[in-house]
């Protein structure tokens, strides 16, 4: 057997094996996404059951003010939570969003089984005993943990392992919210940071599977019973704009409170930190004991009541204020649990308060209070969690009503912009910095403006020759550019494409001293070296078949970089007229443009 064939064989078989492995992983990714969705859905259903069971068991079936257990239960539960977080499940603290992002960007998609277990048990225990936290973010991490575990068992490559965390996160969140679109958007907005075709299909599959499972158990009803929501009068939009402003300010207060208390408590000695959860539980219990038991737990039923206009204006404002306090205490103490439900709660109360105010003072053009509560939820979601797209879709998905779209967009946009202006660093980023991590900012990543070729493109200063010219004629034309400082010459070929030659290459071609380009066909008319150019030879024939790549002004600037290894200068052409030159870019132009950023 030929020795070269023998040496090429292992490389070929290795390439085939790699290709086969890639196909296997691609297929597995889709199949496993469904399993991730189903298992995450089942776990999230169990998680919700655990929370509700514990709530009844620990707080009673109808918690009311002045029940002693409202004080006792969270405080005692806090002791167990503190000990378990400290000694058994240290990675279970926090909401779960940042932990999932850390798994994606730092730990190659790894989330330990212990973390998932800890998150499940401790979050359920904390929420069930009345801490002002929500189950959605832990569900997100539980889903990501399931995905991590499954992908590890299947021995997938590191790149695939990393992709699996967001797939599971979407499944967990979708099952918790019973809203697949919002979950997918949130994962893209807040975890991945951009639209990635590689992962989108799997994210959708897992989210849908999880929602199917959740609905199989809980039914297809949305999370909240949505009353009739509509925009009664266009003037009502002014009230929605005010709601946007209030939401922006409330999110600032909430973020500042968390940003102040969390690091303050984390600076305490480790043993002192054991006291934080019971103390936070006791304080939250005090709020419940002395009149506002609605702020305890996730608070979905209170959101429901606010949406149906069952609270007076003052009570709504009190609930919003004390929910901010209770959530700040609960979360900052290191108790595992999420921020989504409290955010929705505060938003709903503020929205309902604006609606109630309008009902009192402008009854002739005010719509149902439920509309305001619903929009309020989206407002705080956009402003506090900084997920504007998710917030809009969440409201639409939760309400199943498209007629509310204009108020939602208006209020959310105002709240989001105000929040960004007042608090440039989003809350999740503040937490990562407090934890000493530097995860990519999703907000910045979303808004990253990519440079294009047109940003580095320069006017044409290089000599331009026609490929159809004979060599003497081309030499004559070229001699006119003798003083031009341009490092290259452009040749416009008859097929409409371009050829960029260095000065030396062009001089050699014109004098007939250069060897033909590698790709040029073996020309029988090739003159002998030193015989001078053939007067009838066409310039294009001497260039061979190779041409500069076809580039357009709107292409990414980075797309030009690989070509500078071969070409000294790249012509940028018009998309409408084949071969029409718009300008040129050189490596120097591209680098200069990148350095200007």
């Amino acid at each position: 057997m030929d020795s070269s064939f023998k040496s090429a064989l292992p490389a070929a078989t290795s390439s085939i094996a790699q290709h086969a492995a890639s196909i296997r992983e691609e297929r597995l990714l889709l199949l496993l996404s469904i399993f991730v969705g189903v298992i995450s859905g089942l776990l999230v259903v169990s998680f919700r059951m655990a929370i509700e069971w514990l709530t009844v068991l620990l707080q009673g079936s109808l918690p009311a003010p002045h029940q002693a257990r409202l004080l006792e239960v969270p405080a005692i539960a806090g002791i167990f939570i503190a000990l378990l977080v400290r000694f058994v499940f240290p990675a279970a603290r926090g909401s779960g969003v940042n932990q999932t992002k850390a798994a994606l960007y730092i730990h190659n998609g790894y989330i330990s089984t212990r973390t998932v277990l800890g998150k499940f048990l401790l979050s359920a225990f904390a929420i069930g005993s009345g801490y002002s936290l929500g189950p959605e973010d832990p569900s997100l991490q539980i889903g990501a943990g399931v995905a991590s575990l499954i992908s590890r068992r299947f021995g997938l490559s590191r790149a695939r392992l990393r992709l699996f965390a967001p797939i599971g996160a979407a499944a967990g969140l979708a099952a918790a919210f019973n809203a697949p679109i919002s979950a997918i958007l949130f994962v893209i907005e807040e975890v991945i940071g951009n639209w990635s075709a590689a992962v989108l299909g799997s994210v959708v599959l897992s989210a849908v599977s999880a929602v199917v499972v959740a609905r199989w158990f809980w039914g297809a009803e949305p999370m909240f019973r949505i009353p009739v929501v509509n925009l009664v009068d266009p003037r009502e939009l002014m009230a929605y704009a005010v709601l946007g402003v209030i939401g922006g300010i409330a999110s600032l207060v909430f973020t500042k409170a968390l940003g102040w208390l969390r690091p303050l408590l984390r600076r305490q000695p480790a043993n002192w930190q054991l006291l934080h959860p019971p103390m936070a539980g006791f304080l939250v219990g005090c709020i419940g004991y002395f009149g506002l038991p609605q702020i305890m737990g996730a608070g979905y039923e209170t959101i429901d009541q606010a949406m149906h206009g069952q609270f007076a204006l003052k009570l709504l404002l009190l609930l919003a204020l004390f929910k901010i306090i209770a959530t700040t205490l609960s979360f900052s103490s290191g108790t595992p649990g999420g921020m989504f439900a409290p955010t929705l709660f505060i938003g709903a109360m503020l929205g309902a308060a604006v609606g109630a105010f309008e009902h009192i003072y402008f009854p002739h053009f005010s719509g149902p209070i439920g509309s305001y509560a619903l929009v309020g939820m989206g407002v705080l979601f956009a402003a506090f969690l900084r997920a504007p797209l998710t917030s809009v879709f969440m409201v639409l998905e939760v309400s199943g009503n498209y007629s509310i779209i204009i108020p939602v967009i208006l209020s959310n946009t105002i709240a989001y912009l105000l929040s960004r202006a007042l608090q440039p660093v989003p809350v999740f980023e503040i937490f990562t910095h407090q934890d000493g991590l530097y995860l990519p900012s999703m907000e910045e990543r979303r808004e990253e403006s990519n440079l294009h070729l047109e940003d580095a493109m320069q006017p044409i200063t290089a000599p331009v020759l026609q490929g159809s010219d004979t060599l003497p004629s081309a030499a004559g034309a070229y001699s006119q550019y003798a003083e031009s400082p341009a490092p290259a010459v452009l040749v416009h070929c008859t097929d409409g494409l371009w050829y960029a030659a260095t000065r030396a290459e062009m001089a050699a071609i014109l004098t007939g001293s250069a060897p033909q380009s590698e790709s040029a066909p073996a020309a029988p008319a090739e003159p002998a070296a030193g015989a001078g150019p053939d007067p009838n030879a066409i310039l294009e024939q001497r260039l061979g078949s190779e041409r500069t790549p076809v580039l357009f002004p709107d292409l990414p600037l980075a797309s030009a970089l690989p070509h500078f290894r071969r070409w000294p200068l790249l012509p940028v052409t018009n998309r409408a007229v084949r071969g029409a030159l718009e300008g040129t870019v050189s490596l120097e132009d591209v680098l200069k443009r990148y350095q200007q950023r």
Partner: protein, 393 residues
Amino acid sequence: MATEIGDNAIARRSLVVRDALSLLTISLITGLLFACTLFLFRSFSTHRAELAQRWSDRGRRALLTNRPQEAIADLHAALLYSPATREYELLLAQALGQAGRTEESYNYFLGLHETAPGDGDINLALARLESAKGDRDQAVEYYRAAIYGTWSQGGGVERRAAVRTELARYLIVQHDFQTARLELLIAGGNTSDSYERDMNFGHLFEEAQDLRDAAAYYQKAIATRPDDTQALENAGRVAYALADYTTAHKLLDRAAALRTRERSPQAAADASIARNAERLLELNPSLSLPPGQRVARILTLRAIAKKRLDACTQRTGVQPSAALQAIAARWTGPDATSNAATLLRDPVRQDAALKLAFDTERELESQCGPASGDDALLLRLAQPQKEGAASHG
């Protein structure tokens, strides 16, 4: 080379087997997890259903004993454990309404209406709330939706007739008598015969100013209970208003006799109207009377009117109006002086004499105060017959 290709094939086969086994394992784990979750979920659901039942029973009791605030809390708890249970939601909405939280109750019912737009109970509740809010069109719309809606609790025909009756009552309050009459006619036809139905509908038709139908229902009530004084009185009164004095006299006379036997103070009032009816029968110059008798009655009526005119004009301090002076001037003409023979010969003159008497009484009513005795009866004869009787025709 062959070994290498063979190794690759073996490696691929083992990978396929491993993947298949892994998928089988994960499928089994999923199935097991599903079974566990299902088992827990069933237990969880049963427990929640028990809690919901307990709280809803408490709420229902509180509602029945008129403690709406307690009912609201209890029913909220019931709905917490059994969300979207229509029965609890309806109870809660009712409790909110009972507690005076009309707006909340309205919102609640609107939410329920979204999910079940054809539900009779919900539409009826919304109709009542809209009528309380004063939105007539919306209220009528919901009433009609309730009438044509579904009644899941059964007894649809009776419930629809009851809603229609309620709508008629609402329309009467709104002074839309024509529509109310139509609704009452349909509702009456859809309600089974009974004394109570007849009395109720008689009264409602009376309120809707449809005296003829009211009389018909009262007559049915009398047919069921001939000695029912209330039915006799009502029927007599309506007959009197319809100028059917013979019937009025007969019914009211009977009613008065029964009342006297019962020693009821109402007896005197019944007897008074019966006497009036009798006197009206004596005075009524009906065209069906023989000419001589009719002329005699016209002359009597003219004399009654003349007497009151003289009394009024002779009263000191009364400044006769231009209209009264014109009436007085007419009393010097042939209509006032023609005798029985003249009138017998000329029916046109009969009507003119009668008109003079009626016009005089009408004018004196505004100039000299309310009439009494025969003057009042003359005035009654002068009035056109009741709208109810007229419009019905």
